[in-house]
Amino acid sequence: MNAAFLILSLLAVAGALLAIRLHNLVHATLSLMFFFVALAGLFVLLMAEFIAAVQILVYVGAVGILILFAIMLTPHVTGENHGRLCSRGWIWGLAGAGAVFLILIAPVLLMAGLDTPPATAALSPSVREIGLVLMTPYGIALLVMALLLTAALVGAVVAASPPARDKDEPKP
């Protein structure tokens, strides 16, 4: 097995496990960003360099920092959580996750007996080719995506802003 794949997958699994098991939220978010970087390395192994760059830009640069800011700007959310880590029915959660894992892994293991198609010859898509494909057949989808991102931006601002005080309401 390829050593790079082994190292990167171990790093990704470790980062994901730490992200959901750590008590401190800031540490959990940092290990989540570590997981994103390891996954970007796996994308490079799969010859998707552009997606790896997008992964770093969007996830590590935007989503991770967004979560960090949301944690740090909200009082009492940050810091150590000294109470119970898990919810009351955590054993059922564990059982459900294990069952989903078995269902996901069963087709893979059943397929292992068949001969799998070998990876086709190396083809490193340039950004220009991806952009051309993105513009011609997927132009409508790109426009819809821009609309979705705008709606998400407006919706996030509306949802996160504090409720407006009624002007007629007497001040306490």
Binding site: I20, I51, Y59, V108, V133, A156, V157, A159
Partner: protein
């Protein structure tokens, strides 16, 4: 030689870890982090199927992942805004205490 199966197994493991975080943790932000891990596992699956599939020149897996990342970014921003709004209402980030509909 790394084959498609290795990537599928890795992606299943990552998806289960994310699901475990969503199902067992009490903090709302950690639940959101688990959802992000699950989305990334699905993206890895898409890229792996594209890489080991017969038609690399169409970039279908790449573009699907690109759109998926954009949707995930929108989901993360709206999700965090909702977590902050719910926190402001309930004064706690604990998802076990947000049970007004049940009572």
């Amino acid at each position: 030689m790394v084959t498609l199966q290795h990537y599928l197994i890795l992606s299943a493991v990552l998806f289960s870890i994310g699901l475990l975080g969503v199902l067992t943790r009490r903090h709302a932000v950690i639940v959101l982090i688990g959802i992000e891990i699950m989305l990334n596992a699905a993206n890895l699956n898409l890229i792996a199927f594209w890489r080991f599939g017969p038609h690399l020149e169409n970039f279908e897996g790449l573009l699907f992942t690109l759109f998926s990342i954009a949707v995930a970014a929108a989901e993360a921003s709206v999700g965090l805004a909702l977590v902050i709004a719910v926190y402001r209402h309930f004064k706690t980030p604990d998802v076990e205490k947000m049970n007004t509909l049940r009572e």
